[in-house]
Amino acid sequence: MRFAFTDDQLAFRDAVRVLLEKECPPSTVRAAWTNTTGRTTSAWTALGEMGVLGALVPEADGGLGLSELDVVLLAEETGRVALPEPFVEHVFVGAPLVASEATATGMMTVTAGDPFVPYADTADVIVRLGHDSFLVDPARDSDLTPRRSVDTSRRLFAVERGSSDRDLTPAEVSTAYWRANLGFAAQLVGLGHHLLESTVEYVLERKQFGVPIGSFQAIKHKLADVRIALEFAAPLVYRAAYSLTHDDPDQRIHVGMAKAAAADAAALAARHALQCHGAIGYSFEYDLHLWIKRVWALGAAWGDSTWHRDLVARAILDS
C-alpha cells in the first residue's frame, strides 16, 4: 500500500510546472481571450517538444506510452495556470484515440467535446461525443457553428455530423469519457488551488478598518473551507487516475467521484475568491475572473457534479 506519486512522476510534474510558469503567465491567458485562436502557440509547442502532448500515446506510435497516473498531475498544473489550450481534449482523449507520430508530437492537434467542441476551428482532428459520437473525417471541411463561452478563450463550436465521419466504438467512447473527466477533475483542482493561493495573497495585502482583511474570521473561515474541499477532492482524483491505469472494475465510479468533488471544490473556491476580493475581483481588468470562468466552464462540461453523483448512485444502489 502506498498512496503517493513516484519521484519520477513528481519530477515530471515539476518540469511541466516550470515550463508553464514561463510559457503561460496570466498575460498569456488574457491574450488568448482576444487573439484569433484563443490559444497560446508557444506553450503548446513547448509541451509538444517535451513530449507531454503524446504522453498517453503508445511508444510504438511515437508517444511516451505513459499512464493516466503519470499525467494526472500535469493536467493539474495546466489548471493551475489556466492554460488556454485543448490540453485534456488532446492529451487525454484525442491523441491516444488517433495515435500517430503527428498527434504524439502535437504537429496535429486533436480536439473533442460534448456538447460543444472547443478549438474545433484550429484543431486538425475533431472528435464529437454525446448521443452520437463520431470522429470527423479530416478530409471533409467540417461545418462548424461558433458558440461563445463565458470563458472567451474557449472557442466553442457546434459540430454537425458528415456522411464520411466514422462512428466511435463503445469502448472508444467510454475511454474518452472517463479520461476526459479525469483530466478536467485534475484541472479543476489546479484551478481551485490557484484561486485559493491568489486570494490568500490578496487578503494579506488588502487593508480595511486598519487591518489586513485576512485577519477577519469571516474571511478566514471561507478560505479554510476552500482548503478543506481541495484537500479531500485531490485524493479522489489521484485514485481515479490509479483506477484507470490499472483498469479497476470500479473506474467509472472513481472518476465520477473525482469529477463531482473537484467541480464542487473548485466552484466553492471561485465563489469565495470573488467574494473575498470584492469589487476588485469583480473588475474585468483584474485577472481573477479568467480562472473563475474556466471553473464555471469545466465544472459543467462532460457532465456536472449532479450527473456524476447520479452515476455513483447507480453503481451503489442499483447493482
Binding site: D114, P115, F116, R147, R148, S149, V150, D151, T152, R154, L156, K207, Q208, F209, I213, F216, A218, I219, L274, Q275, G278, A279, I280, Y282, S283, F284, E285, H289, W296, A297, A300, A301, W302, G303, D304, T306, W307
Partner: protein, 379 residues
C-alpha cells in the same frame, strides 16, 4: 390583515400593465452598461418620463404621480413582469433622490429632480476609493475651501463607480475637514462631470461590459450650491442613501418574482420531472414569496408611520443571496450549455454575483445584523 388591493390600486396596476404592454421594446435593448446601450436606454427612460411612469412616487411637479408606496410596489411588479429594460437612471432616482428629498434645498430639488426624472441628467455614485471599499470611512478624496470663489476645490480618485463613464453627474463624499477622523469631516457633493479637472475612465465589470469607472478630480471647483446637506455632515447624509440602497427602493420584490417565474418556465421546459430541480424551484418560489411578503409587512409599517426597523441589512443579505441561488438553479438546468455567454442566465448570474459585494458586503451586513439587531458587542 387584508391582502387584497383597492379598486383604485387595481386600476393603477391595470393602467401600468396596459401602457407597459404597449410600449416595452419587443426586442430587448443591448446592455445598458455599454455606451451604445446606455444611450438607447435613455431613449426608453424619456418615453417612461413622458408617460409619467419614470418616478411614479414623486410629486407631479417633478414628473411623478404622487403615487402611494403601495402603488409604487405595484408599478415595480408590473415593470419587471413586462420584462421592461433595466433602469439606467436608478442610481439617481433610487439612491440620490431620496437623499435630495430629505436633505436638499428647494433650489436643489427644483434644479436636479426634473432632469433626473427625464434622464436628461444621469447620476453615478462616488463613494468607493481604491483604499476605501467596505471601510468607507477610509475616504481620502478631499475638498479644500475656496472662500473667494464661494465653493470647494475637489481632488482625489473614486473607483468602481457604476455607469460612471456614461453619466453627466456624480454624487460623492469628499473630506472637507482633513483633521477629522474616520466618518467625521466628510461632505456630500453634487459634481457635474463636465467640470474642468474631472477625468473619467470607464472599465469592465465581471461580464466585460464597461459598467465601472474611475473618476479623478484634480482641483475641481464646486460651488456651495452643490453641497448636499451640511458641510462635514456627509456621512449622515450618505447613510440615508445607503439605507435606501439596501432597503426598499432599490430591490423591489417584482425583480425576484419575475426571475422566479422565468426559472419556473425553464424548469417546465427542461426538467419538469426531475425531483431535484423540482425541489430547487419550489425553494425559489418559497423564498421569492417570503421576500414579497416581508416587503408588504415593511410597507405596512411605513404606511402606518411605524418604524421599518433595523431590517435593511436582513433584506439586503436575503435578496442578494436569493438572486444568486435563482441563477445558480437555472445554470444547473442548462448543464453543458450553462457556460454559453449568450444566455440571459449567464449574464444574470454574473450580475447576481455583485449583489453580495456591493452596497456593503454581506459580511458587513451580517456584522450589522449581529450588532444592531441582535445586540452583540462590536469588538
Amino acid at each position: 390583515m387584508d391582502l387584497t388591493w383597492s379598486a383604485a390600486e387595481q386600476a393603477f396596476r391595470a393602467e401600468a400593465r396596459a401602457w407597459l404592454g404597449a410600449n416595452v421594446p419587443t426586442t430587448p435593448l443591448p446592455s445598458g452598461d455599454t455606451r451604445e446601450g446606455f444611450a438607447l436606454h435613455l431613449g426608453w427612460e424619456r418615453k417612461l418620463f413622458d408617460a409619467r411612469w419614470a418616478v411614479v412616487s414623486w410629486p407631479e411637479a417633478y414628473g411623478g404621480r404622487d403615487a402611494s408606496i403601495w402603488e409604487w410596489l405595484l408599478f415595480e411588479e408590473e415593470y419587471y413582469r413586462a420584462g421592461a429594460p433595466q433602469r439606467v437612471t436608478q442610481n439617481g432616482i433610487f439612491l440620490l433622490a431620496p437623499t435630495l428629498f430629505e436633505f436638499g434645498s428647494t433650489e436643489q430639488q427644483d434644479r436636479f429632480l426634473p432632469k433626473m426624472a427625464s434622464g436628461e441628467e444621469t447620476w453615478c455614485q462616488g463613494w468607493s476609493e481604491p483604499d476605501a471599499g467596505s471601510d468607507l470611512a477610509g475616504i481620502t478624496s478631499r475638498a479644500e475651501r475656496d472662500e473667494a470663489a464661494g465653493g470647494w476645490r475637489l481632488s482625489g480618485q473614486k473607483t468602481w463607480t457604476t455607469s460612471g463613464a456614461f453619466c453627466t453627474h456624480l454624487f460623492g463624499l469628499y473630506r472637507t475637514d482633513p483633521t477629522a477622523e474616520r466618518h467625521r469631516g466628510l461632505t456630500y457633493f453634487l459634481v457635474p462631470l463636465d467640470s474642468p479637472g474631472v477625468t473619467v475612465r470607464g472599465f469592465g465589470r465581471l461580464d466585460g461590459d464597461e459598467g465601472f469607472a474611475e473618476v479623478f478630480c484634480d482641483d475641481v471647483f464646486v460651488p456651495d450650491s452643490l453641497v448636499l446637506g451640511e458641510v462635514d455632515q456627509g456621512w449622515k447624509v450618505a447613510m440615508a442613501t445607503a439605507g435606501s440602497e439596501r432597503g426598499l427602493t432599490l430591490r423591489s420584490p417584482g425583480r425576484f418574482t419575475a426571475t422566479t417565474a422565468r426559472l419556473v418556465e425553464l424548469t417546465k421546459a427542461r426538467a419538469a420531472a426531475d425531483p431535484l430541480a423540482r425541489q430547487r424551484v419550489a425553494q425559489a418560489c418559497i423564498d421569492a414569496e417570503a421576500y414579497r411578503l416581508q416587503t408588504l409587512a415593511t410597507v405596512t409599517k411605513l404606511s402606518e408611520g411605524r418604524p421599518a426597523g433595523a431590517e435593511s441589512s436582513l433584506t439586503k443579505v436575503f435578496w442578494s443571496e436569493l438572486d444568486v441561488s435563482l441563477h445558480e438553479s437555472a445554470l444547473a438546468l442548462l448543464g453543458g450549455e450553462a457556460e454559453l455567454d449568450d444566455s440571459p442566465w449567464m449574464k444574470g448570474w454574473q450580475f447576481a454575483l455583485s449583489g453580495p459585494i456591493y452596497a456593503g458586503t454581506n459580511e458587513i451586513q451580517r456584522n450589522v445584523i449581529a450588532e444592531r439587531v441582535l445586540g452583540l458587542p462590536r469588538k
